[in-house]
Every structure is written in structure tokens, then in C-alpha cells.
């Protein structure tokens, strides 16, 4: 009989030490080499962001309504209330928060929970009646100038109408007080400042999604899946091996887009670069995980492309990148909350234009992590380990 001792043969079948890492690493090296050989994909990594940035150099105009607004009410007077009522009647403003300190007020604006803040100072009504011409502060988050602009434009007119009821005939005529509108974060109301950070997310969504959406179907169509499955690799190892190279690719792309944004369009980065890098990497990984999930669901590369496009379109339209999120109907906002781009658009605008910290962005960060884990779980369970 054979020279092989069967007992030793069965003992050989132990899991090799660090097996998980070796197998994931094997997959990763392979993917990197294949990416390097695929010149078209390689060119796309560089050309796509540059072309999109140059092409999308314009803004989209809309007049959003019911924008979330915070009130810092330091005086509870009839006049103050009718001013607020009049603002709400324009349908541009919706009072969602009432705060009691300037710190809270600033925090709401910075985290993007509200787009406007109205401050009614102490002794406002008395000052108006005395004819002191006091100032009413309306602070606007102008990172999205389209959303803020039209609402700010209505302010003067409506306050006048509101006052007609409350001020008696003997009061000083015409403008009894001043509205001091303060466009925060983007004082020049430049739409580029708004578009460029959003583009970072849009371009990354498109490229990352497609890279991984094709990865499993490509193995099946080229016939290499058969030998891959006959080897001792686990679904989670295949997934990591296929995602990690593109995290690096995505990071290079993001650096390129943000670099062009800063150098060519003069977009500032007010927040921490490290936070931006960290959350951008999270967003890249989330998109790669979703693309990879698509790839385990579809039958061929064409379907993978179609599914990616079906995901990409709502991402552009409902994420707040193209149209102000606050202006969308409720059902559309719910869909938007399920898209990683929505959260990343908020994150990247907040960090670059408002100097937000990771504490300000807890909700969106957690949402991205949740979406990533959900996609990975589906992918690992969907991955077929046999050819059945």
C-alpha cells in the first residue's frame, strides 16, 4: 500500500497558525496585482474624480421650505412670539429646538441639526417700544447657500407684517428694529464651497461601489471561482481580501479630490484633517462593503452594474448633495437616512466648512458604521461556498 501513514495524514489537517491572516493576505496581494494589471480601472481611479470635479462646477437651485430652526428665547414677550409666528407662517422656517444658552445654540448649528438660529435678546420688546432700534440676530448655516439664501431673503418683509398687529399707532414708524442676518461658515454664499465637499462623497460612492460590485461576478465569469472555492478560504477572508486594496485606492482618490478642492476651488478645511481622514476611510469601507454585497447577490457583471446604478441615483438625489436635505418630503428623508452618502455629505461639509469635531458628528458616524456592518453581514451570509 501507500507510503503515507493515514494517522499523520489526518493530523496534518490542522488549521495553520494565523490561517485567517495568511488567507486574507493571499487574497489581498492577488487583488492588488490584478488591479495593477487592469490599466483601464487604474486610469479610472485618477481620471474619474478629476473629470467630475471639473464638470460639476455649478450649483443646483431650489427653494427648500420648513427648514429646521432653533430659537434662543431670552425674553418671553408678545412681540417676540408674533415675530416667531410670522417667521413660521412663511413656511421657510420650522422651529424644532428651543435653547437657553449660546453654547447650545452654536452646537445645534455646528452639528447640522438646524440650519437657522434665531436669537431674541433680553429686553427686546421694551427696547423696540422705546425706539432704541434693537437687533434681532438670525444666524444661518450657509454651507448650503441655496437652502439658506431664499429663506433669509424673506426675513425683512415678514417681520414688518407681523409687527403691524402688535405695534400701536403711537409707536415709531417703519423699521423699529434691525434684523442682523449672519451667514455662518460660508459668508460669501459660494455654492462651490457646498458642492466640492459633497462631490468627494459622490465620486467615492460611484467608484468604490463599482470596484467591488464586479469583484465576485468577475471571478465567476472568468471561471476562477471554481478553483478558489476548492481551496480552504472562508467567505469573510475573501471579502477582506477584496475590500482592503480598494480602501487604499479610495483613500488616494479622496486625497486627490480634496486636494483639488482646496487648491483649485479654495475650499477650506476648518476641522481636523485626521478626523476627516478617519471618517472618509469609514465611508469608503462602507461603500466597498455595499458593492461587495451586490456582487454576492447578482448573477453577472451587467447586473452588478445595473444594481450599482440603482443605488447611485438615489444617493445623488436624496442625500442632500444635490437638493437640500431639509427641503425634501419626510418619506424621502427616511430613504436618505439609509444611504451612506447622506451621512457623509453632512460629515464632510461639517468638518471642512464648519470645523466640526467627531463629537458633533456622532450620529452620522454611528449610522455609517451600522450600514457597513449590515452590508458585511449580508455579504458573508450570501456568499455561496459551493457551485450548487
Amino acid at each position: 500500500m501507500s507510503t503515507t501513514d493515514t494517522n499523520s495524514a489526518r493530523r496534518n489537517v490542522r488549521e495553520p497558525s494565523f490561517g485567517f491572516w495568511w488567507r486574507s493576505y493571499a487574497m489581498l496581494v492577488k487583488e492588488f496585482i490584478q488591479l495593477r494589471r487592469d490599466r483601464v480601472s487604474f486610469a479610472m481611479i485618477v481620471m474619474l474624480p478629476v473629470m467630475q470635479l471639473v464638470l460639476f462646477g455649478f450649483a443646483i437651485n431650489t427653494t427648500p421650505r420648513h427648514l429646521p430652526t432653533a430659537v434662543l428665547l431670552q425674553e418671553d414677550s408678545d412681540l417676540a412670539r408674533s415675530i416667531l409666528k410670522a417667521m413660521e407662517n412663511t413656511a421657510y422656517f420650522r422651529f424644532t429646538h428651543e435653547v437657553h444658552s449660546v453654547a447650545e445654540f452654536d452646537d445645534l448649528l455646528q452639528s447640522g441639526k438646524v440650519l437657522f438660529g434665531v436669537e431674541i435678546p433680553r429686553g427686546f420688546e421694551r427696547a423696540v417700544r422705546r425706539g432704541d432700534h434693537p437687533a434681532l440676530l438670525v444666524a444661518a448655516d450657509a454651507t448650503d447657500p441655496v437652502a439658506a439664501g431664499s429663506a433669509l431673503g424673506t426675513l425683512n418683509g415678514i417681520v414688518q407684517t407681523a409687527l403691524a398687529h402688535d405695534l400701536q399707532a403711537g409707536d415709531p414708524p417703519s423699521t423699529p428694529f434691525e434684523i442682523r442676518a449672519h451667514s455662518r461658515y460660508n459668508p460669501a454664499a459660494s455654492s462651490r464651497l457646498n458642492i466640492v465637499p459633497g462631490l468627494v462623497g459622490t465620486i467615492l460612492t460611484m467608484t468604490m461601489l463599482i470596484f467591488t460590485a464586479l469583484s465576485v461576478t468577475r471571478e465567476i465569469e472568468r471561471g476562477t471561482m471554481e478553483s478558489l472555492l476548492s481551496m480552504p478560504i472562508k467567505p469573510v477572508e475573501v471579502m477582506f481580501g477584496k475590500i482592503i486594496p480598494y480602501v487604499i485606492v479610495g483613500f488616494v482618490q479622496a486625497t486627490l479630490i480634496i486636494g483639488i478642492g482646496v487648491l483649485l476651488f479654495g475650499v477650506p478645511i476648518l476641522g481636523s484633517l485626521a478626523t476627516l481622514a478617519l471618517l472618509t476611510t469609514l465611508f469608503i469601507t462602507t461603500n466597498l462593503a455595499i458593492g461587495y454585497t451586490f456582487s454576492t447577490i447578482v448573477q453577472n457583471q451587467l447586473q452588478a452594474m445595473q444594481l450599482s446604478m440603482m443605488f447611485f441615483l438615489p444617493s445623488i438625489l436624496l442625500s442632500g448633495f444635490m437638493f437640500p436635505f431639509a427641503g425634501m418630503p419626510r418619506w424621502a428623508q427616511y430613504i436618505g437616512e439609509c444611504l451612506p452618502l447622506t451621512h457623509f455629505v453632512r460629515i464632510v461639509r461639517a468638518i471642512m466648512l464648519k470645523g466640526a469635531t467627531i463629537q458633533n458628528l456622532q450620529y452620522d458616524t454611528i449610522a455609517l458604521i451600522a450600514l457597513m456592518l449590515l452590508a458585511m453581514t449580508i455579504a458573508v451570509t450570501r456568499f455561496r461556498r459551493t457551485l450548487d
Binding site: N12, P16, P232
Partner: protein, 314 residues
């Protein structure tokens, strides 16, 4: 036939009653087989007979609809992971990465199996399969014979106990085919078990044991001599002039199941020896032909088995 799957140490593959169907069409039906360790087991049968499906069930790539068995002592349903570590599977179609070089493909496999020094293992294998000088060539640019050597190298790299080779020599020239078989015999001599599917009769004759499968059913198995003896086929070999005319006249006569030209001779075979004798008797008088009664060739046996299984299963 032994009916209980055992984990006897000298048995590498032991399966019982394997069945698999795709979309309602039975591809493998109630297939049982045993392969001894260290032997070369030939797997023969026409296209679409279920050879590839059987091989895929053995290495865990497909789950059988029914039936059970062991591969290297591991349950083919439950222990697919362990089987995969010990089995090298060479697919019918080249399934390594065409856009990776010879070296990169081998290193990939070595890392997947957790070999401690993947680079060295790949280098050694390149030497062994004679691909030195082509290490950096992309696998997709290799000729058929070299691709086949690379594929064999890749599936023997992790030192498997069992090789499953699915038509490894299809489309390969005779010299490369002979080298390949010498390599397989060398591996078997080292204790490796090899299950190889093929269409070539000369390759079947190089196997220690063969099995013939058609329409999902195992029709015959054993050594080449045993299979020929089991067939109970009686064959006359005729040489002489106008064999084509003779073939036309003989086919359809009682007892004549098969008439097949082999170069300058004609094989006339039948299962009913007496009926065959009486049918050919008139022609044996003719001086122009030389008649010899002999053993059927393996090909005669297979064509006969195939023809019969068609009647039984279709």
C-alpha cells in the same frame, strides 16, 4: 460491491448512493465507488455523463442531493473544509488567474494554504514543473501544455493526499500528455491518490483501476482486464479488402451489436457469442478476409456500454 462506507485506512474515497440533479434533470444517479489510497483511478464516460459533477461532490464544491461517503476519511457533507486542505482539484477549464504571472499564481495558492514560505514554495514548484524562465509570464499567455503544467503544479503545491483531475489532458499534444502521465505516476508512487477523468483510451490503460460512467450511472469498474472480462463481449478482428462493404453488410445482422473500423482492421462484436458466430460464418469462407477471434478493446467495451445504457436510462 462493498455497501458500507468505511474509513478503512487504505481507502481514499468511499461513497455510497450519490445522486445529484440540476433543475429536475438527474446528472448523477445512485453512484457508489471506492478508490484505494496510492492508486490512479481513471474515470471514463461520454460528455455530460456526470464525471465533473461527481468530482465536484467529492471535494465539497457541490452538495449531493442524497447519498453519503467519505473522502480521505472525512465526511463529504460535513467536513468540506478539511477535505479542501488535503485535496488538489484541477478543473477542466483553466481556472487560475490569467492576469497573474506563473509565480504570482503559485504564491497565491501557497499563501492560501498557509505555507510558511510562500515565495520559496513557488520557486521550488516552478523548478519541478519546468517553468523556470517563464516565472514572470502571465498565465493567460501560456500555451495549453504549459497552462496544464501550471495547473497541476498549483494543485500539488500544498502537498495534498488526493488529486482530482478533471480531463487534465484535453487539448494537449502527445508529448506533453506523456510527460504529464509520467508525473502522475511519480506522484502516485509517493503515496498520492489520483482520480483522473479522461476520454482517451490509452490514458485509461495507464490507470490502476477504471470506472465507466454514463448518464449518471456507474456501469463498470475494476482493472482494465476486469472491465474487458466483465463485458462478456465477443469480438472478431477482420483484415483484408473492402472492409467498408463488409461493415455495411454485417451491421444489423443478428448477434452483431457493433461494427467499428480500427485503421486497417474491422472489429465485429456482439454479446451473444453463438448468434455472432452464425452471422459471420458465411463471410469467414471468403479468402479476401482474414478473421481472428480475440478480446475486445477497451473502446469496444465502452461503446457497447454506452449504447446499452442509452437504452436503459433514456
Amino acid at each position: 460491491m462493498n455497501s458500507t462506507p468505511s474509513t478503512a485506512p487504505d481507502i481514499a474515497i468511499n461513497v455510497e448512493g450519490l445522486s445529484k440533479s440540476f433543475g429536475g434533470r438527474a446528472v448523477v444517479q445512485n453512484l457508489s465507488m471506492q478508490v484505494k489510497r496510492g492508486s490512479i483511478y481513471g474515470f471514463l464516460g461520454p460528455n455530460g455523463s456526470g464525471k465533473t459533477t461527481t468530482i465536484r461532490m467529492l471535494c465539497g464544491l457541490l452538495t449531493p442531493d442524497s447519498g453519503e461517503g467519505t473522502c480521505l476519511g472525512y465526511d463529504i457533507r460535513r467536513d468540506a473544509d478539511k477535505i479542501k486542505r488535503q485535496v488538489g482539484y484541477m478543473t477542466q477549464r483553466f481556472s487560475l488567474y490569467q492576469d497573474l504571472s506563473v509565480r504570482e499564481n503559485l504564491e497565491f495558492v501557497a499563501r492560501l494554504y498557509g505555507l510558511s514560505n510562500a515565495r520559496q514554495a513557488a520557486r521550488d514548484m516552478i523548478q519541478r514543473i519546468g517553468l523556470n524562465g517563464r516565472e514572470e509570464q502571465l498565465a493567460g499567455e501560456l500555451s495549453g501544455g504549459w497552462k496544464q503544467r501550471l495547473a497541476l503544479g498549483a494543485c500539488t503545491l500544498p502537498n495534498p493526499q488526493l488529486l482530482l483531475l478533471d480531463e487534465p489532458t484535453a487539448g494537449v499534444d502527445p508529448k506533453a500528455r506523456r510527460d504529464f502521465w509520467n508525473e502522475i505516476h511519480a506522484l502516485a508512487a509517493d503515496g498520492l491518490t489520483v482520480l483522473v477523468s479522461t476520454h482517451y483510451m490509452d490514458e485509461a490503460e495507464r490507470c490502476h483501476e477504471i470506472a465507466y460512467i454514463a448518464y449518471g450511472n456507474l456501469l463498470a469498474h475494476g482493472t482494465v482486464d476486469e472491465v474487458i472480462a466483465q463485458s462478456a463481449l465477443s469480438t472478431w478482428t477482420v483484415t483484408g479488402d473492402d472492409l467498408n462493404g463488409l461493415a455495411d453488410e454485417l451491421s444489423g445482422k443478428p448477434g452483431v451489436d457493433m461494427v467499428a473500423p480500427f485503421g486497417t482492421s474491422l472489429h465485429v462484436s456482439g454479446r451473444d457469442k453463438a448468434a455472432l458466430e452464425s452471422s459471420v460464418a458465411p463471410y469467414r469462407e471468403n479468402r479476401g478476409w482474414n478473421w481472428q477471434h480475440g478480446d475486445p478493446s477497451l473502446e469496444d467495451v465502452f461503446i457497447d456500454l454506452m449504447g446499452r445504457s442509452k437504452d436503459n436510462f433514456q
